[in-house]
Amino acid sequence: MPVTIVFLLAMVVLAVASIQVRKAEIAVIYLGIFSLFNAIFYLFYSAPDLSLAEAVIGSALATALFLVAIKGYTLRRTQIKSEYRSPKMRLALFGELFWGVVFLTIGFIVISFYFGTVQDVGKPAWYHYVRSFISDTGARNAVTAIYLNYRVFDTLFEALLLLVGILATAYFLEWPEGKEPEEEIATKPDSEIVARISGLLYPFILLYGFYIIVNGHLTPGGGFQGGAILASVFIIRYFAQRRLGINIFILQRLEKSFFLGIIALSMLLLLPEFMNSDFKVFHLVLMNILIGFKVCCGLAILFFCFIFQQTKVEDTKGRSERG
């Protein structure tokens, strides 16, 4: 199909451009466009779930996080730049490049051996899932049927990974003990127009996020995607009004309790006599809602950690300039 070839070529061009460009901010923008093309490309291969996740997380949340991190980093860049130019550092970089090429070659050789020996056994699992997922789980969306019913314990560990990653980020970025982070970050809104119009837009974005979560078992979408959309509301709110409006410690506690709820609900699948056909659908919707809120809390915490770290760097810089 020629359209897919055009998109593939554009993705290759954008990937190379994001590596080759000098300024890190522009590279991040290129990466954001790359994931947007990636999301459209998933649609051609009829994976709208993945496409939604990629569009929200890849091109909106990740871009914002990278930009915030770079803004904090560039304030300290001059020191690192001088280190970068020394001949010892260059030698080290060359060595890294050499070993990278060697390992990549070994990897390709191993993978080519693997493809030489792989044997075609047909797709029995695929046929089984596609034939019987409606009667087994009550979901109309096969992806939801798999990740919330057939393989629900995989989903548990996936959610746990996100939780652990966020806890580690919050731990290493050092919240000040006993201080209200809300007080630290609050400043004046940047632009009156942006604040007003985005205030008008929140209800629609919230409605869209809830729609994606609640209809996760019927249409493309689900807890992860809808949660990311809900988290983007927090981010827009921060950029428009320069205040959090919510305590981060409460968010952390909420995320943990939502995770406990997810574990408790998924244990119900171990009691088959309890799961009649009406309760199955209810169970799917409830799981999706819990996962959505948990992902929303997690991504919002991650974003606010980065924002807080950046304002701290700016504060210390301002103090050293004044003093």
Binding site: S191, I193, V194, I197, S198, L200, L201, F204
Partner: protein, 99 residues
């Protein structure tokens, strides 16, 4: 009849967009370019969607397109405004003469 009007509107939208793309390459300065690119998006897109709405007639699909247009009219000038404002606030130089 509505089909013809819709096609004509879409053609007009394409003309707008072509002019806009030419303008982006014609002007050299950042502030002029951002003005032109906002024009391409807003005017061209609104005309195009008006063409689509006229062509499909009164049904549910038209309502969905109308909601998209309302969303776009709210957000696109907002994005242009914030880009231009942050460029001005970080002291990006204004053009010296008019072109």
């Amino acid at each position: 009849m509505s089909e013809l009007v819709g096609n004509v509107l879409m053609g007009v939208a394409l003309v707008f967009m072509t002019c806009g793309v030419y303008g982006i390459f014609r002007f050299r300065h950042f502030y002029l370019r951002i003005l032109i690119s906002s024009k391409v998006d807003t005017v061209g897109f609104i005309t195009l969607t008006a063409g689509i709405m006229v062509k499909s007639g009164l049904n549910f699909f038209t309502l969905k397109v109308l909601i998209i247009v309302v969303f776009f009219v709210l957000t696109n000038p907002l994005a242009t405004h914030s880009i231009a404002r942050s460029a001005y606030k970080s002291q990006y130089p204004l053009p010296e003469d008019d072109v």
